[in-house]
Symmetry: C3
Subunit: 408 residues, 3 copies
């Protein structure tokens, strides 16, 4: 759940000051919604009685009957519970963090313009339905898993899912006002707090050790301990390589040594290795992470060219690197490229189309996006009534000032 | 100890900019004082030779004789140590975080006006004496425990204790200057840094998993692992429900969808479930947490009506929710309501009265509160000489400016 | 790796606003460089085939052959792996955090004036070569270890190494412009964000539990669990005593109760106990930590007198307290003072001389320090193009303003 704190810091530091409180509310809200929705519906759809496509639609669940018997003192159940490999509810907890991560990716991309309650509504569907279906196909032992699709801790299942949902949202919601100017230039939108962004990335980096290390679900024997140590080292090497590769290529691609490219490079390196930190050799982890950092930096530029507005660079860092990582594992550890491609395309098609339709429905009913007036004033003042740093004197955006004056 | 970092962020973000450094010093100081006082006196009062009311007054202590023998290579001691269930000093460490939490609650309520050294003096007594007495009654196997009072990880023992001490302090110290205006309105006091408050809540949420999960003290067998997984899920569900319930009712109660209500709702949900995360079913965790969030939001309004000034809303989040949680466990899991009420009232009476007397003595001797002049200038400049954000241009409070001018 | 996040917050909050983004980039970059360099070269120099002075110069490495066999299902290897005490790669991971810590110490001391790429180059040598040689002498079972030098978790090996490297850098790079005025006074350089510094210290404090607790490398039996509990309590008591001692003596030494002295006191207490948290008794931990806090505060003043500019006080907190701790363990637990002194002097001589030569070479080639113009503008704008808090109105330093005006 620490991941969610990382995303909150990253996003609240990346948005402009006038929207920094709302992004905090979005993040604490999405974590609450994800926890409740995944408990009430999602987990069953993902794990219970999955045949190929989807599990059962039942409300809520709990520890297994054997576990309850064990807690009540029936020691004979101990062996059965151990053979299951892990406690049912510890698995739920772990998966709940994954599902919240997908929603955090969306909130980062759509920051500064998506309506609070529209975002919450989308989060509800994403965490109760869209992610659990993908999860059922894979970790729930549905058709992709049976086919042989490999994704250790979710390069595709978690990060690409979030990335596709964010991309669909970015297309429907559209870019921020005047972000892409008529003359083809891109308007700079200063981050409110760079050290907060950096802290967020460190928190995510740390959280990933839990993410990837914890995916080696049973930490019971010596072999598992050795496996976890290899996973942690691969995770760290990929992130480090992602940082340095992204900083190095930021000069030719973006025109300057760029801190944000480096920070996104860390995340891209982490996402890239997530598909197989347990099976690649250490030097491959460095190569995979470095390539992830380069692709992410290139992706930031590509989105600018395509006039797709992604406030924190979540699409390059999670979707582009997620696709790369899912393929790279296969190359590095000798998997089946066809299976991996099938998985990538199937997840992409399902998540993008359902998300896109959902965003269109939201936009047609309660509106996906705030009014231009709210966007200029900032969501903090206009939607929430609480500024993020109310006592600091802030330099206003001249575009907004002119526009607000004209309206008067 | 991570909890203390959470409180520091929450409180330093919630106070006005002019008091943000002092609150940092108060928090690092209280953690240091709590650690030393609880080591020197508190632990023995709480655990050693408790009959009914209080343990022994001895200075310092250490690992058990058996543990020392084991460390010196006497392998025959291993069995004895295991039978104790946990290492003596790991229990001390755990309890020390609890005792620091009670002091953090007080520092949040009394921020922006309580004197630095008066607060430190109160902290010394709270952590060396008041909390350990409550602890002796309960976890030290004193009269409340023998009666059957249930409080798994401290809804009453930790959070209400802190809340009662804070309430006594708020009554003696009084509200901030002009907080409650003559015309009955409440003066808004803008938080200095909203993302920091949000980060603080995430840190506390995460720390609670250690708090509640770790209270299942022996993590040695399969049954314990299953129990911890259930505790973590209940803890998370209660917090999530607290967030959403508090945000939902903030509109009717406070007049707007309120981020702070949501953040306090998370804490209230966590406090509420703390009395019994091990014994309630998951759907009960949601109900208990949601009700905690609602009661906390109502409590924020109630304190305004009563003209009690609680800067961070610690009394609603810890005291109100703590009382609720201690009763709710009983309802949800079938305990004895009478025992729970007795515990709540006994703890409340003892902590409130001793704290109130202590604050009166402090106020009569070294003063509990800074002078109006210091309060207007801000404690950072006047008491400490270090501003929190010295290079940022801050919008001053017009009331303070006028008043300071008049004095000249 | 959490330590690195702590240093980043501490340093980004301690520098002036105009340099806060660059220090973030330095910290994420140093962590990446340390991870890659220590993987590629450092670990082998430190651990593989060490005779007395240095290990083997080989590129990269990985899990042991026995571990790989175990992962492939050869269960007969389990016993061999267990007898090694820990997984090879988990040890690498742990050591990598140590090596990054030494570089973080340097970045704190030299902040606000050292060139980005010069610092990265120094970091590369420090983490690939200087630290690993010290490590080979001690933890790699080289001559100091064989002599009997005791340093449990690196008071000398990690913290003094970082401190000596920082001191050499401070002498070559020189103080910030106008820091030491002609009239003998010291120019105040306001920290940009005090709550961030406080958060950083809490993060480090927490990270130290992993540092010291994790140095009890095998957490497998009851005796180890007891040992870890004692280590954690000693670590916490020393830090708490360091805080209170440093705050108390800050009034006579620095002229005011000083938050920064208290925060540095926490770190000094932690560094002091690091040489022997496993072998000293609890009351000794308090004494050692308190003395560390006093020495650190005195060290802050001493550096001012010597006109050595250490932005975050890293030299007093890590070097002075590191030397003290390495000796104190010996006094408290009955070691050989001569061995300890030999270790302190040998490490100091090697690290200071190699670092000093390296900084001279860097300065003679690519320059160690930014130009006065860049220093006045701030490294964020001049070197990186991204300000840390671009929307906040900042009060400029009048010296810089005058100087920049004169140049025009």
């Amino acid at each position: 759940m620490w991941m969610c704190a990382g995303f909150t810091m990253l996003e609240s530091g990346s948005v402009r000051t006038k929207n920094a409180s709302v992004i905090c509310l979005k993040n604490i809200g999405l974590y609450a919604i994800a926890g409740l929705a995944y408990y009430a519906i999602g987990y069953n759809l993902m794990y219970v009685d999955v045949e190929s496509w989807i599990g059962s639609f039942t409300f809520s669940y709990g520890p297994s009957a054997q576990e309850i018997a064990l807690l009540r003192g029936d020691a004979s159940m101990e062996k059965t519970v151990v053979e299951n490999g892990y406690a049912v509810m510890s698995d739920w907890f772990f998966q709940m963090v994954f599902v919240a991560t997908t929603a955090s990716i969306v909130s980062g991309t759509l920051a500064e313009r998506v309506k609070l309650w529209s975002f919450f509504l989308f989060t509800l569907f994403l965490t109760a339905f869209i992610y659990p279906v993908i999860g059922a196909w894979t970790w729930g032992d549905g058709w992709l898993n049976q086919m042989g699709f490999q994704d250790f801790a979710g390069s595709t299942i978690v990060h690409s899912t979030g990335g596709w949902a964010a991309l669909a949202g970015a297309l429907v919601v559209g870019p921020r006002l005047r972000k892409f100017r008529a003359d083809g230039t891109v308007k700079p939108t200063p981050p409110s707090n760079v050290p907060a962004v950096t802290l967020g990335v460190f928190i995510l980096w740390l959280g990933w050790f839990g993410f990837n290390g914890g995916s080696q679900l049973a930490l019971s024997g010596v072999a598992d301990a050795v496996a976890v140590s290899i996973i942690l080292v691969n995770t760290n090497l990929a992130a480090a390589a992602g940082v340095m590769a992204a900083i190095s290529v930021s000069r030719p691609i973006l025109g300057r040594y760029d801190l944000f490219a480096g920070l996104n490079g860390a995340i891209a390196g982490l996402v890239s290795i997530t598909a197989g930190p347990d099976i690649v050799e250490h030097h491959w982890a460095i190569i995979i992470g470095a390539a992830g950092g380069v692709l992410c930096t290139a992706g930031i530029r590509l989105l600018e060219v395509l006039k797709i507005d992604d406030v924190v660079g979540a699409i390059p860092a999670h979707l582009v690197a997620g696709i790369w990582g899912t393929l790279a594992v296969c190359i590095a550890a000798g998997g089946n490229v066809g299976d991996q491609l099938t998985g990538i395309l199937a997840v992409g098609a399902f998540v993008f189309v359902t998300s896109w339709v959902l965003w269109l429905i939201i936009d047609a009913t309660i509106k996906a996006r705030v009014s231009p007036h709210v966007e200029e004033l900032g969501q903090d003042v206009a939607e929430l009534g609480i500024e993020a740093y109310p006592e600091f004197l802030v330099i206003p955006d001249p575009d907004d000032v002119n526009d607000l004056k004209l309206k008067k």
